[in-house]
Amino acid sequence: MAETGNSDAIAAAFADGPAYVPYLVVGDPDYESSKAYVEALDRGGADVIELGLPFSEPIAEGSTIQEALVRSLDAGMTPERFFEFAEEVDVDAAVVCMTYYNLIYQFGTDPGPRPFVERAAAAGIQGLVVPDLPAEEADPLRAACDEFGLDLVFIVAPTTRGDRLDRIMEHVSGYVYVQARLGTTGARDDVSDQTTASLDRLREYDVPKAVGFGISTGEHAERIVAGGADGIIVGSALVDLVAEGVEDDLSAEVVADRLEALSRELTDGAERGYRSRTETVESA
């Protein structure tokens, strides 16, 4: 892969084989359990972990993640607590923060994104994903990320084409988040045709492509990686397990084991997809 990013850890995560990029909301349902859950993702083979910092108006999120964000906010999550979490959590994977722009903009005493990025860098965070920040509005955040060595990941939607795609690909660093379908986040049963079309459009750009939105099984992971993705991003399917734990009053250990098991299923699926790709190349 080309040198596309600021973070060596993220570049390394995509360097050999498909990357598994799980997402969980920090502090869901409480600080300590969520630490155990994120560590379980790491044991399950995570290469990059997207940690969600909850915002009160998550306009890109479906109901699964909305409810998780509410659980976390109700349990007292704040940006500063989030950074402490990132410092304390014991994982090998590279860590990326996913949140909305107003929290980034308001952090610290001076308005603007710089104090947030500086604090994130100090907490060991390697990159940011900001779903309500299109490339047009991203210059100040991009400058701060470059200053502190963070990657700024952008989302490419099924509707993104032509000039817009070029503009985003100019800004992106680390990896590009390929949104598998239109709509909001949420686990689905099928793999969308929009995914294949998006990967085709992105083929000429030399940056790792991680596909997300709706992936919930090892079989999805396999098909998406076989279709050319460099990584899979999985959120709602994992958050569903946390929600189940809350509903059924399960212990944190049981939920952590389930998260680790689903992670293994997903990484195994991604590996199979990757092997089928290299085999096709070799036999060609």
Partner: protein, 437 residues
């Protein structure tokens, strides 16, 4: 010859309205100084670019005669122009000439149709097949449902659960006009949540659906486009004032939630430096804020808010120190919103618009005063402007235009209930009814 060349110039002013810089603001890049912008998920950006293009072609350049058709439908279906009426009792009470711009007489009973009809018609010109909208008081939802029925488009309205309970007559009206009403149960179930939920629908359906946003909020081009559709209020009022009184008003007063009736009433006056522009926000029960609970018992984002990013735009917001959006409050659902249009935020910073807050009690008093002395029952939103007159009439000049943004039929239950909880000197005794219910 171009459009502007043929337009007759205004004798008292010398410049065609569209040449006035106040009317051009934000049109190019969607920025009002530091405010505005397009903070939305990438999936929506192509739709927003498509909409910007359509706005420029059809609204600004009248392509295919769009604006002509819009004006004709506003007249025939909507009942425009609305009158500018002298309020005799209020004029006497405050010892100043008080004129009412009667948007309550527009079809549907509020200014909202100006925008809803414009956007649904635009969606048709764009070839969209479905309409979605959020609503707070139900007035925008009602106006959108009417416009969608009028123009034969299927329509879905998102409305917070709490607002559904506060504004039942409007829910019935939307259903009667053939729209689907979807309750939003997240958060406190008010306008903020309804906007978020409509944006989520749009993110999934953007290819064939147009989102008719209900105020001068959201990503560019919504704030400028909604202002341009609502500007008909001040285009008429300015001419009517000159005709009736021989000159410009000294003050224009309008309530402000998101701010669409406000900017509609101000737009043509922004460049008239002598006219004071007063935006009246909902002061709720108090202007103090409960950081711990994340609650602001008011909706005074211009008056008490801080800069931030919400629902696609940088503007003034009610938020805590981390940037989490606060739950707002107002006795009127239509003002119950933690943000405000970016153009108003800018005009307030520039000192061009003066923001004031009027609390629930004063709004209810205003509601009763206009009802009992002028024979006009205002919407609770509008009532804030009359609360302001009572509290601040000393600061006003000799000729005041108040925008009567809507009528109060939708609010009768709420107004009677809220009145019952208070000791209001000018309210009629309704206990014989409330106790019996």
């Amino acid at each position: 010859m171009s459009e502007t060349d043929t337009r007759t110039t205004d004798a008292t002013d010398g410049a065609a309205p569209s040449r006035r810089p106040g009317r051009e603001r934000g049109r190019g890049d969607g920025k009002f100084g530091r405010y505005g912008g397009q903070y939305v998920p990438e999936a929506l950006m192509p739709a927003i670019e498509e909409l910007t293009d359509a706005y420029e072609r059809y609204v600004l350049n009248n392509e295919d005669g769009f604006m002509d058709e819009f004006r004709e439908r506003l007249a025939d279906f909507g009942g425009r122009p609305t009158p500018l009426q002298r309020a005799d009792r209020l004029s006497e009470r405050y010892d100043t000439e008080v004129y009412l711009k009667r948007e309550d007489l527009l079809h549907g009973g509020a200014h909202k149709l100006n925008n809803a009809l414009g956007q649904v018609l635009l969606a048709k010109y764009m070839g969209k097949e479905r309409i979605i909208a959020e609503t707070g008081a139900g007035q925008h939802g009602t106006a959108t449902a009417m416009a969608a029925a009028h123009l034969d488009m299927p329509c879905t309205i998102y409305m917070g659960e709490r607002d559904i309970n506060r504004q039942r007559p409007n829910v019935f009206r939307m259903k009667l006009n053939g729209s689907e009403v979807k309750p939003v149960t997240t958060g406190r179930g008010t306008l903020k949540e309804a906007i978020s939920e409509t944006m989520r629908d749009w993110a999934a359906t953007v290819e064939d659906t147009h989102y008719v946003i209900g105020s001068i909020v959201g990503p560019h081009p919504f704030p400028v486009m909604v202002r341009d559709f609502q500007a008909v209020i001040s285009e008429e009022a300015r001419e009517q004032a000159i005709e009736k009184t021989g000159g410009l008003p000294t003050d224009v007063v309008a309530c402000a939630g998101g701010g669409s009736n406000t900017m509609g009433a101000f737009a043509e006056f922004v460049d008239d430096e002598s006219v004071a522009l007063r935006a009246v926000e909902a002061g709720g029960s108090t202007l103090e804020v409960d950081e711990e609970a994340g609650v602001a018992p008011n909706s005074a984002s211009l008056f008490a808010g801080e800069e931030g990013v919400l629902h696609g735009a940088r503007t003034k917001l009610l938020q805590d120190s981390d940037g989490q959006i606060m739950e707002s409050h107002s006795v009127s659902s239509g003002l119950d919103y933690a943000g405000v249009g970016p153009e108003l935020a800018y005009l307030v910073d520039e000192g061009r618009v003066e923001p004031v807050a009027v609390d629930d009690d004063a709004a209810l008093e205003g509601f009763h005063r206009l009802s009992s002395t002028e024979g006009i029952i205002p919407a609770l939103e509008t009532a804030h402007a009359f609360g302001y007159l009572e509290e601040h009439h000393d600061e006003l000049g000799e000729r005041v235009v108040v925008n009567v943004s809507g009528r109060g039929d939708k609010d009768l239950d709420a107004a009677i209930e809220e009145t019952d909880q208070r000791d209001l000197p000018n309210a009629p005794d309704m206990s014989m009814f409330t106790e019996g219910i």
